[in-house]
Amino acid sequence: MFRWHTVAFWEWNSIDSNEVCGICQSPFDACCADCKIPGDQCPLLWGKCKHCFHLHCISKWLETNNEGICPLDRQPFEAAT
């Protein structure tokens, strides 16, 4: 054998892969609109409210929005630890 090609498949195991990030509308298994490669470089962030977004998407929103509210429930967004 001289060479082989490997093909990898991955998905977050913490979330339904069909779900999309409400902010960028891209699947969670894809990256946010600013990134090129999904995965650890473009992680997900859950709020205490259980709503999930790409970290980069929710960070940009919280920088823009003075009240710092969750885009889905309008309550102050606190990252789940």
Partner: protein, 151 residues
């Protein structure tokens, strides 16, 4: 050039085409994805019924973290629409959320035609007539429904 806002607007467009809400249509200009033309058909069982109201949506690179500027191009007579066509609608101002897309914006405007809010009037005359003289309000709305077909 592809930017996060432009990529998001392409997704909005795809969603609007694959799963279009009833009574609205919208599309970006062929040479500028940041500028959209939209049409809202007047909801049935309202004085706006059968109207075809054209709107212009202007986005910038802050979308979806900031709402677009939205205005009616067609003449409008509605308690929450200013004389220049701009709207007084909370989700386009202080209740904006980055999870809204073009379909959500147009659907909200459609429901505003259904349920005007006379407590935050942008057109005082329309608000007064809506509250106090529904018959005359309806007559004035029917006038702009007819003009909506012309241009």
């Amino acid at each position: 050039m592809s930017t996060p806002s432009r990529r998001r607007l392409m997704k909005d467009f795809k969603r609007l085409q694959s799963d279009p809400p009833g009574g609205i249509s919208g599309a970006p200009c062929s040479d500028n994805i940041m500028l959209w033309n939209a049409v809202i058909f007047g909801p049935g069982d309202t004085p706006f019924e059968d109207g075809t109201f054209k709107l212009l949506l202007q986005f910038d690179e802050t979308y979806p973290n900031k709402p677009p500027t939205v205005k009616f191009v067609s003449k409008m007579f509605h308690p929450n629409v200013y004389a220049n066509g701009e709207l007084c609608l909370d989700i386009l101002q202080n209740r904006w959320s980055p999870t809204y897309d073009v379909a959500a914006i147009l659907t909200s405007i459609q429901s505003l035609l259904h349920d005007p809010n006379p407590n935050s009037p942008a057109n005082a005359e329309a608000a007064n007539l809506y509250r106090e003289n529904r018959k005359e309000y309806t007559r004035r709305v029917r006038e702009i429904v007819e003009t909506s077909w012309e241009s």
